[in-house]
């Protein structure tokens, strides 16, 4: 595998939101879960394609959206947020 391919793959590899550390930025690649939860998050601004930055990481994290909103989010097996870290 070429280095370019490896770099591209690492760029596009999605990770769970809670694995990000403080100060890291990422693009939301998918929000999966019950329709209720996905819609609720989307209404609050956290949806696919959004850029977020992590203010506090971990199981319960604080993410900041581009519009300035800060959300405290705890995901679980029924609600998963995958993000693509932005270098």
């Amino acid at each position: 595998m070429s280095i370019a391919t490896q770099v591209n793959q690492s760029k596009t590899q999605s990770v769970p939101l809670q694995s990000l550390g403080v100060g890291e930025m990422a693009e939301v690649s998918s929000v999966t879960g019950s329709n209720h939860e996905v819609a609720r998050l989307a209404e609050m601004g956290l949806r696919t394609g959004m850029t977020v930055s992590v203010n506090r990481g971990g199981i319960t994290s604080i993410v900041q959206l581009l519009n300035g909103s800060r959300l405290c989010v705890r995901t679980c097996s029924q609600l998963e947020i995958l993000v693509t870290p932005i270098q």
Binding site: E43, R47, T60, I62, Q78, L79
Partner: protein, 750 residues
């Protein structure tokens, strides 16, 4: 409903009805309070837990009636409480007329998110104005909003205000007066052509006389879990439902998520236009005061330390600071009772007034200082934006036991008293989470259980110590009783989430608003609302039940001719000497007088004990004796437990009466402790009170719902009798089973 309107104001015909709407944390309540002042009413919408707040504002010569709807991020309803807002706006709510005007409050610092709700409201195509609040903070953050551009884009009046400082109110009132009955100038159009076609097909499927407008069919198309469709299906025919199903299936087959379609469309529209009316003088990601404060207040160590200190202060204040005021109320009750005694001769009326009514009303008012103080502190914590930070910090730990961070404040308050704790669940926005918290809050060992623990532990738990005196068995037992409640609460919460209150998920989402100074007007209003709601709604039930228990203990009255000979002598002693004692002015100090007083007092105590034994309460105690024997109790303990169902602290004075020491005993009383220690099963030498019996009583008290005030508040907060009945039933069963197991096991082991 509490009514701060005077007769002239409430009789004045209102010119318009205005629904006030907005995201949480936009200052909507601040604006509502500032506009309406004291001219407010609070009540409940039937069938839901949402409080109804209405108020009047005078604009020129006429009054406008404002209805403060709950803060919401979206008009997509997913519960009956959320459906209320939609029904009110559509004019479908039986208790509300359709509003003539919608006043939407948005936060100038977060227009992008706030405009999502505005976009949904515009679909209603009803008269509307937008109040852009906190413009001063926006300016400080380098954000400038071009209100005229926004107004042209949306087709509705847009007014900039600062609700806390009442800036912009003249312009707002003028806009409200002009906007009534004036629909938006333009048709709001956020959707892609594909979505517009789908909505068009749904509308076409509606017959001409269909009451539903574009708003409702749009909502049904984006209805992710069928709730809205279910609510409206009686108003649409099968053709619409079939078309809806087809459209949704097509969307999914084409790879469009129904859950995100609406958000994508509306936010894309907002983002496309945002730069035309939002100008940023400063970089979008400059460090703000909120960022600087959050660096400390959400820190894993410093933040947790601060949160812990806040909780300790909250607990101490509610537990201790309210005590002088509660004592004052208690003292006033005593003064009132003395006054009644001097005017009303001894007898049934005297006893009803003092032991029934004054005691009943007093038992309501005595909680008021705690409730007011708790609401005051929680309102400050919430208004400043700190409460959500504390919820974040605690969520990490509470999530491991199936609860979320925001539940800790109400549960912590419940250690002082469950009544303010349950009312504090108003900070929990999720309906099911709030209900679960309300149902487990009474399991926190409150201050009223303390007298029982203190009395029984001191009398029956050996005062052994371990680790060089560091840990005492009595202290450990007290700690154990608190842990019984906490562990049971965790288990019950888990069970409720898995069964009747299935949440289906253990995720948690909460907005962290920017920090701001609390609005004292808001804080005051919330404190007043909370206190008044308790006195008005819960107070009625408490007074009624207290009087019923008084009656059960008072009737039937002893018939002196049927008293056993020793008690006839007691009655004669009292009759012969009471008049003499009453005529003394209290300055006599001779031994003869003191001895006479003691003899009369002891005689009265024996008569009271006999009266209680043969009252309806005593008879009920004897009736249930077979049921409480497996717990190690006899009829006396059973009667005391029944008497304490309205208020558990009553048990100590009731046991004082039952065991012939009078009602003035308390948990520190050595004579009561020794009476209990020497009490035996009737007709035997077998001790009644043993360590296993003491443990079973304490476990029963730790888990039983012996507080009608708590049940009354649950009824008030849920607007339903189902949940207090459920609470009473599950806690009584739990307490009985636990007390049974405690006695049976400890009796064999100890």
């Amino acid at each position: 409903m509490s009514n701060n309107l005077n007769e002239d104001e409430s009789a004045e015909p209102t010119a318009a009805r205005v629904a006030v709407l907005g995201n949480p944390n936009t200052g909507k309540s601040t604006l509502f309070n500032a506009l309406t002042g004291i001219r407010q009413q609070t009540g409940n919408y039937p069938g839901v837990t949402v409080e109804k707040r209405t108020g009047l504002v005078k604009i020129g010569p006429t009054y406008f009636e404002l209805t403060d709807l709950p803060g919401t991020y979206s008009l997509a309803p997913r519960s009956p409480d959320e459906m209320l807002t939609v029904n009110v706006l559509l004019g479908e709510h039986p208790a509300e007329e359709k509003p003539d005007l919608i006043l939407c409050v948005v936060d100038a610092n977060n227009l992008e998110r706030n405009l999502f709700l505005v976009s949904q409201i515009l679909d209603l195509h009803q008269p509307m104005i937008i109040a852009v609040n906190m413009t001063d903070i926006a300016t400080r953050n380098g954000i400038e909003i071009e209100l005229e551009t926004l107004q042209k884009l949306l087709g509705v009046p847009v007014v900039g205000i600062q609700a806390k400082r009442r800036v912009g109110f003249d312009a707002l009132k003028s806009a409200m007066a002009s906007a009534v009955s004036k629909s938006p100038d333009i048709e709001h159009d956020p959707f892609s052509d594909e979505l517009k076609q789908r909505i068009g097909r749904l509308k076409a499927a509606c017959p001409d006389d269909c009451q539903l407008k574009r708003f409702a069919v749009t909502r049904m198309l984006f209805d992710t879990d069928g709730f809205m469709t279910d609510q409206l299906k009686s108003q649409v025919d099968e053709k619409v439902l079939a078309t809806l199903k087809t459209e949704q299936e097509q969307m999914q087959s084409e790879g469009h998520s129904i859950a995100e379609s609406e958000s994508h469309a509306r936010y894309n529209w907002i983002t496309k236009h945002l730069d035309s009316f939002v100008k940023r003088a400063a970089p979008a990601h400059q460090t703000t005061l909120t960022d600087r404060l959050d660096a400390w207040l959400t820190h894993p160590f410093w933040g947790l330390l601060f949160a812990g200190l806040t909780m300790v202060i909250l607990f101490q204040l509610v537990f201790w600071a309210a005590e002088p005021a509660s004592n004052l109320i208690d003292g006033f009750n005593g003064v009132l009772a003395t006054a009644v005694n001097s005017f009303v001769p001894e007898g049934t009326l005297n006893s009803l007034l003092i032991d029934g009514l004054i005691n009943g009303v007093g038992s309501v008012l005595i909680f008021l200082p705690q409730i007011l103080l708790l609401f005051f502190i929680l309102a400050i914590l919430e208004d400043t934006g700190y409460l959500s930070r504390a919820a974040f910090l605690l969520d990490k730990y509470l999530s491991r036991i199936g609860l979320s961070g925001i539940t800790l404040f109400p549960l912590l308050s419940s250690f002082a008293c469950a009544i303010p704790g349950i009312m504090a669940t108003r900070v929990i926005k999720d309906r099911r989470e709030r209900l679960i918290t309300m149902l487990i809050a009474p399991l926190m060992s409150c201050s009223a259980r303390l007298p029982v623990y203190v009395l029984l532990i001191a009398a029956f738990v050996p005062s052994k110590s371990y680790l060089g005196g560091l840990i005492g068995l009595q202290g450990l037992t007290m700690f154990g009783m608190y842990m019984v409640g906490i562990i049971t609460a965790v288990a019950v919460a888990w069970l409720l989430r898995k069964t009747i209150l299935k949440t289906g998920t253990s995720s948690f989402v909460l907005e962290l608003p920017t920090y701001k100074l609390p609005s004292l007007r808001n804080v005051w209003q919330r404190m007043f609302d909370g206190g008044w709601a308790f006195v008005r709604d819960a107070g009625t039930m408490i007074v009624v039940v207290t009087i019923l228990v008084w009656a059960a203990a008072y009737f039937p009255q002893n018939n002196e001719s049927l008293l056993p000979p020793p008690l006839k002598n007691d009655a004669a002693l009292i009759a012969a000497n009471q008049t003499t004692l009453d005529s003394l002015d209290g300055s006599e100090t001779s031994i003869d007088v003191a001895q006479l007083e003691e003899q009369v007092s002891l005689a009265q105590n024996r008569l009271d004990a006999y009266q209680l034994e043969h009252s309806y309460l005593g008879r009920t105690g004897k009736l249930i004796e077979p049921m409480v024997k497996p717990l190690g109790w006899d009829w006396r303990i059973g009667s005391a437990a029944i008497a304490s169902f309205p208020a558990r602290e009553v048990i100590v004075s009731t046991m004082g009466v039952i065991f012939g020491l009078g009602a003035d005993t308390d948990e520190e009383s050595d004579s009561l402790k020794s009476s209990l220690a020497s009490a035996t099963w009737e007709g035997t030498d077998r001790p009644l009170f043993t360590l296993p019996v003491a443990l079973s009583i304490m476990v029963f008290f730790a888990l039983c719902a012996q507080c009608v005030s708590t049940l009354a508040v649950i009824q008030r907060e849920t607007n339903s009798y189902r949940w207090p009945i459920f609470t009473f039933a599950y806690m009584t069963i739990l307490a009985y089973v636990a007390a049974f197991l405690t006695f049976q096991i400890s009796d064999k082991l100890l």
